[in-house]
Amino acid sequence: MAPITYLEAIRQGIWEEMERDPNVFILGEDVGVYGGAFKLTEGLLDRFGEDRVIDTPISESAIVGAAIGAALMGMRPIAEMQFADFISCCFDQITNFAAKCRYRWGAGVPMVIRAPSGGGIHGGPFHSQNPEMYYVHTPGLKVVAPSTAYDAKGLIKSAIRDEDPVIYFEHKYLYRRIKEELPEEEYLVPIGKADFKRRGNDISVITYGAMLHNALEAATLLAEDGIDLEVLDLRTLVPLDKEKVLESVKKTSKVILLHEDVRTGGIAGELAAIIAEEAFEYLDGPIMRITAPDTPVPYSPVLEEFFLPKTSDIVRVAKQLAAY
């Protein structure tokens, strides 16, 4: 197959699942006739009809609430948030209804909420957020965030087939910027498994989302200075692949936790605690975090560039850590 973009990969994944299972359907704002704000769902309305590709009013609570209801009846809804930033409008439905059904009364809610997240597109405070941690913090939900086209397709398929609610954060910066050749035959990427995107011996960089690409770029630059990075892509935030995280840290003894999300409450803190608790005697240097600062996402390009973690940040911190 010719190389396809990250966006196209997600569409393919959805398409394949809708062909395979008549219970799968999409609902959200502008997903049908318009093909989605980012054109991700383009073509689906023509193929699958109005019944299965539903243009909804601007009602995030109703979109997710209806998805929950349909899922309780055994359907497989994919609810789209136009921008991940709007997911806060249905926070209650997600965290108090969907997340707790199985625990309270044994009822599964096999729905997917897709949310285009992340910055770097001059979107400003309400079109660039990384709200994943509110949901990582809520027991009963699964949260995934693919970084490559391969993972994006495999994970959307797994998410749709999962018996529990999955929030799928697709990084909008990556939509058209990365292109990969994908296998012809069907494949799934399992939820809950991290992936080593680069193996190395000196420093572990643990990350997810668009930052993966910055990490790989940094690795190439650092290799010239004799610093060999290992890069672990989490792919899923909940359930976390603690095993691979600890495996990597125990090997290199030095770790950088990298994410585009703001510092406080970001998953780097959680990972740092796990590493300190369970791999303390394997550490040959302090646990380092590279994250955005604790501010809303600014708009002006100069400000946003300052805000987002950069490849040069990774290189600088890695060199300091290597010299420790």
């Binding site: 003894s253 303390f280 005697e281 394997y282 550490l283 040959d284 240097g285 010299a323 420790y324």
Partner: protein
């Protein structure tokens, strides 16, 4: 069976209630769900029904009293059932969550840091591999010992070990008896109890004390003459053979009185001074070695010492020593000179801090007043524990013994 009547929780934030009126008295019969008492709380006043049928046997909380929720306020004796064990303070019911402070604290020993900058990883490796971090040079930030540094050190150490390993291995195998060779050229015999005990004691002593040996040469001519002069008389008058031992024991006793530290022992970081001077004299046996002790040697006369040493040696050979005979020694004298040894460097008899070794008394040419004379000379060696006794003290002790021996004045009888 007794049924507890409890103060209910009338609202999530309520934690106590007041009894305003009892509707029944002790001894009254009560039907389940029948109103039993009235309460007042912050939120609501309420009539409370009985939880069981029977006879109200006890009222524990009076009208007007305020108690916490779940407190047992009364007891109903349900008819026709055996007495239950005494009711507990709080009624059993759904658990209200208690938070327990984590009782597990990870204790990382401060000793582990060894006072050198490293990292948790490096310290763990050092602990496991028995590395003294102060022996390494750190190449990390600020001279920190890094993972690379310690792994490099271990590699080097391994390389050295590689070379010496075969040699050490063979010795170890032979010693442990794991080399597995038993041919007609080699015979394996298990050790006796005494042999095992001596083996352990010797090695332990070497491990414990800081052994240092000093050698003195003593002119024994005067004492040799005395002995030759009085041997016959001793034998006929006292019935015992006169040897050189009592001369040595007497002078050593005096020396120990002068230098009590040589008669002491060490306990942790304390010096234990002993008032009793109990001198052990090593006796060679056909089957091993034993050190019977002459108690309070400083209080005995020359004759007493002669008798004691002969008696102990005899009893030792006849295996008639008692436990008291070999206990509580504070100083030991060993005498390999009888076998011809000129000079020894013995091992200290724990828990003592010194041991005197007497070599063979031989005639030697020596220089006196710039002329050569033939004198009976002996080498005396003192092995002492340098933890407690410094060289100067040891030598002063020995010098005092030398003087006493060379200028023996005392009467033998």
């Amino acid at each position: 069976m007794a049924a507890n009547v409890i103060m209910p929780q009338m609202g999530e934030s309520i934690f106590e209630g007041t009894i305003t009126r009892w509707l029944k008295k002790v001894g009254d019969s009560v039907k389940r769900d029948e109103p039993l008492f009235e309460i007042s709380t912050d939120k609501v006043d309420s009539e409370i029904p009985a939880p069981a049928s029977g006879v109200l046997s006890e009222i524990r909380v009076k009208e007007g009293e305020t108690v916490q929720i779940n407190t047992v306020v009364a007891v109903i004796d349900e008819q026709g059932r055996a007495q239950a064990p005494p009711p507990t303070e709080k009624a059993e019911g759904p658990h209200i969550a208690k938070s327990e402070a984590p009782s597990r604290a990870k204790t990382d020993k401060v000793e582990a840091t060894q006072g050198v900058r490293s990292s948790p990883l490096v310290r763990r490796i050092a602990k496991v591999e028995n590395v003294n971090l102060s022996e390494l040079e750190g190449t990390g930030l600020g001279g920190r010992i890094t993972k690379k540094d310690i792994l490099g050190y271990l590699e080097e150490r391994e390389r050295v070990a590689e070379v010496t390993r075969p040699i050490v291995q063979q010795a170890a195998e032979e010693m442990a008896g794991t080399d597995g060779i038993e041919t007609d050229r080699i015979e394996v015999v298990p050790m006796s109890v005494m042999r095992k005990s001596i083996a352990e004691h010797m090695v332990a002593s070497r491990r414990t004390a800081a052994h240092v040996t000093t050698v003195f040469e003593v002119d024994m001519t005067r004492i040799v003459n005395l002995k030759n002069q009085y041997t016959q008389e001793f034998l006929s008058k006292e019935g015992i053979k006169l040897s050189y031992m009592p001369f040595f024991i007497k002078t050593v006793s005096a020396g120990l009185k002068e230098f009590p530290v040589v008669n002491a022992s060490i306990q942790d970081t304390n010096i234990v001074y002993k008032k009793d001077i109990n001198i052990g004299v090593a006796v060679a046996l056909d089957w091993g070695l034993i050190v019977p002790v002459i108690k309070n040697a400083d209080e005995k006369s020359f004759l007493g010492l002669a008798r004691a040493s002969v008696d102990l040696a005899e009893r030792a050979r006849k295996k008639r020593l008692t436990p008291e005979d070999v206990q509580n020694g504070t100083f030991t004298i060993t005498n390999p000179g009888v076998f011809g040894s000129l000079l020894g460097a013995p091992i200290i008899n724990q828990p003592q801090v010194a041991i005197l070794c007497i070599g063979a008394i031989t005639k030697r040419p020596v220089v006196i007043n710039d002329a050569i004379a033939i004198r009976s000379m002996v080498y005396l060696t003192l092995t002492f524990d340098h933890r407690l006794i410094d060289g100067a003290v040891a030598d002063q002790f020995m010098a005092s013994i030398k003087v006493k021996l060379e200028s023996w004045e005392e009467k033998l009888f």
